[in-house]
């Protein structure tokens, strides 16, 4: 395979020989028969379908359960590359928690003039119900997914901080299991850092944040919106792996000042609730009154210290795309250090100068909705048609405050296996971070998402993205 000179390829750099981390893998690969590997690919798909590693696509009645395509060429990161990334993530996650505490208490960062007051006051992700509330252990973001992209040998950027309910960790774990199952010989040749400890670490990390009301060994539960949710498989998987109950709103009620689940023996209090339900649906008494996914009164129990909710309500303010542009300041303000990981330069369309620049350069930029996610409501200028750009221009002019814009990054590529052999495709990376009062635990690697369409920069599974196993090599 010849590397595309325009993009940094993680396997071949800008040349034709494998970069060091990939040397052993490529050596193995060249002795393999492509037809055998393609057959393995089908084997992997059958395995995923049998296990039920599927996701639901909303509004598509014909494909209620779909597989995320899995590519069996791993993405490989050297130990020292990872060490630096991990350090940067840890710093950033510390800053996020300090920021959240501050925002819901004294708002020193606003007083210091480092963040405009309206970024908080006029932000839907800010929850007034959280003002003055200190969560158990003072942890807000128990689980974070810091999305990273790479543009060069030493160039990593944070694309976004997922501080609400980042998903995808079950794919990280199942991808590794599948690779171990299909290519045991590779793992005996190449020493890869393990990821399988994640569910145990998650249990430990969540348990360390149990509320004062907890007696003895904390009772954990995972709150899911139900089997029709797109990430239901992951909710069930994590509950199973942590030996926690998988609950829905209708299994729960407030009993004697605790949130309790209906068991075959009566109501049993829950200490830590890992919720995969958005803030808005968490408590019909305090938020959306029509929600049937949540628990009436849970916020009152929470404020009284009767339960830990992970992640804490109101953390969305920290991964808001408008706040994102202030992250370098936020990191510096709370840690006293320069940010180790770079932010993508971000134009806030709410600012007139920035808006003008963005409108003049739409064809070059990526424009995102401030509150959007999943790759929806976004314009990738270089890939868009004139018509699409003009349609987007109208939306942008109508409500500039809803958008931010970023330069189109030259995202790195990693080869995927196609019928014609290896072919480069753009990737990103979502590492998974666990935060407890005494430590920050980062699983080596994370979930690599890959845009399967040639040239595409959109890696979201809802839009034709696939995944890869991610290897961080041992030292």
């Amino acid at each position: 395979m010849a590397a595309d000179q325009k993009y940094f390829d993680e396997m071949f750099g800008h040349g034709a020989t494998a970069r060091t981390p990939y040397a052993d893998y490529c050596n193995w690969f060249h002795h393999e028969d492509t037809a055998r590997l393609l057959a393995k690919s089908e084997e992997a798909e059958a395995l995923f379908r049998l296990i039920g590693v599927t996701f639901n696509v909303y509004g598509d009645p014909d494909a209620t359960e779909r597989l995320i395509p899995f590519d069996l060429v791993p993405r490989i990161i050297a130990a020292r590359e990872w060490a630096k990334v991990a350090k940067g993530i840890e710093q950033r996650v510390r800053a996020l928690n300090a920021f959240l505490h501050d925002i819901y208490h004294r708002q020193e960062i606003v007083r210091a003039g480092r963040l405009p007051a309206e970024m908080i006051a006029r932000n839907d992700a800010f929850l007034p119900e959280m003002i003055g509330v200190s969560p158990p252990g003072d942890i807000y973001t128990h689980i974070v997914g810091t999305d990273l992209v790479r543009t060069g040998d030493n160039e990593f950027f944070v694309l976004e901080d997922n501080a609400r309910t980042p998903s995808g960790v079950s794919y990280m774990l199942e991808n590794r299991e599948t690779m171990l199952h299909m290519f045991p010989e590779l793992f005996s040749k190449i020493k890869v850092q393990s990821v399988s400890q994640y569910p145990r670490s998650l249990r430990k990390s969540l348990s360390a944040c149990a509320p004062d009301a907890c007696n003895g060994r904390p009772t954990l539960a995972v709150l899911t919106p139900g089997i029709h949710n797109s990430a239901y498989y992951e909710h069930a998987f994590l509950a199973d792996q942590m030996s926690a109950e998988l609950v829905e709103g209708h299994d729960l009620r407030v009993v004697d000042g605790r949130v309790a689940m209906r068991t075959t023996k009566g109501y049993k209090p829950i200490d830590v609730l890992y919720r995969r339900v958005d803030d808005e649906y968490l408590d019909p008494l305090n938020f959306n009154p029509d929600s049937v996914l949540g628990v009436p009164g849970i916020m009152d129990v929470y404020r009284a210290g009767g339960i830990t909710i992970a992640n804490a309500p109101g953390t969305g303010i920290a991964d808001d795309k408008a706040i994102y542009s202030y992250m370098p300041d936020i990191v510096e303000f709370y840690t006293g250090e320069k940010a180790i990981l770079k932010n993508v330069p971000t134009h806030r369309c709410s600012e007139p100068d920035a808006l003008k620049y963005v409108l003049d350069n739409l064809a070059e930029l990526v424009v995102k909705e401030v509150h959007g996610s999943g790759g929806y409501g976004m314009l990738v200028g270089p890939a868009a048609s004139k018509k699409e750009i003009e349609a987007f221009r109208a939306k942008l002019e109508a409500s500039p405050g809803n958008y931010i814009a970023q330069p189109t990054l030259a995202l790195s590529t990693v080869p995927i296996l196609t019928d014609a052999g290896l072919a480069p495709r753009h990737v990103d990376l979502r590492p998974f971070v666990l935060v407890s009062p005494d430590r920050i635990d980062i699983t080596p690697g994370g979930l690599t998402r890959v845009a399967l369409t040639e040239g595409s920069l959109v890696v979201n599974s809802s839009q034709g993205g696939g995944t890869k196993d991610t290897w961080v090599l041992e030292e």
Partner: protein, 313 residues
Amino acid sequence: MLGKTAGGLFWMFRYLERAENTARMIDAGLRISLTRSSAAESEWTSILSSTGARAAYETAHGAPDGPKVIDFLLRDPNNPGSILAGIESARMNARVVRTALTREVWEAVNECYMVLKRLLAQPIEDRDLPRVLQVIRQRSAFVRGALHGTMVRNDIYNFARIGTFYERADNTARILDQKYYILLPSVKLVGSPSDNVQWDTILRATSTTRAYQTLHEGDVDPRAIARFLILDGRLPRSLAFCYGKIGDNLGYLEQEYGMRHSCQSLADALCAKFRSHDMNAIFDYGLHEFISDFLRDSAALGRQIEIDYRFIE
């Protein structure tokens, strides 16, 4: 365990058992329509009644006609009680209780669903029917095998078992409810070819032909068949056997939870009936009345289990 999970397990195994039993009944119906076409229509009517699908069938298709009935029972979207719908429901419940199942059990039920969904995507031709029915029985046996071989014997297992035996007894009782008249002692036509076929159908619909012959040395007698299906504790599809198992499993739950519930008294009362009655007493009381009482008491038991173990609020 969550009450919802207990309920999901109960229903998952009820649906699986029901699908398997429906396959047995199609098998019996097919047999009779091949050997005695004049009796086929009433046989299909009785099978539709046993599976509770008669009204839905007649609304959609009118008079019973072999191929239509078979399609209706196998896969017709108008029939919420079809085998395909049952397997779908079993699998949906399995997804809800996924954290309670071993990977083997989940994979067996998921694969059962994937295979049958593909197999039943089109109407089944007559010549393929025996093979399709065999796949249904086999796939269902795989789930049972995975359950026995891999699940810890705790409350999770107990609720799965209670669902299985509850549904199985219900099925046997419904078949008897449809056929009781040919088992009455007053019908003294022993040996007439007509009744031999009818009796054979009952045994076939419960997959007990061979067991019956072994235990009765080939002597086909309506009273013995009734006794066999109701009272014989050796037969895994008899009412007595199923209720013995339900009683056992409720007992294990009592031990594990340290709590006795009123559903146990209902189950005990049913078990006691099977112990204290011999066939003469049942015939004296009235076979039909006995079966009707049973179906009523069993429905009450089902409701009480649901309340006692908090399947729903």
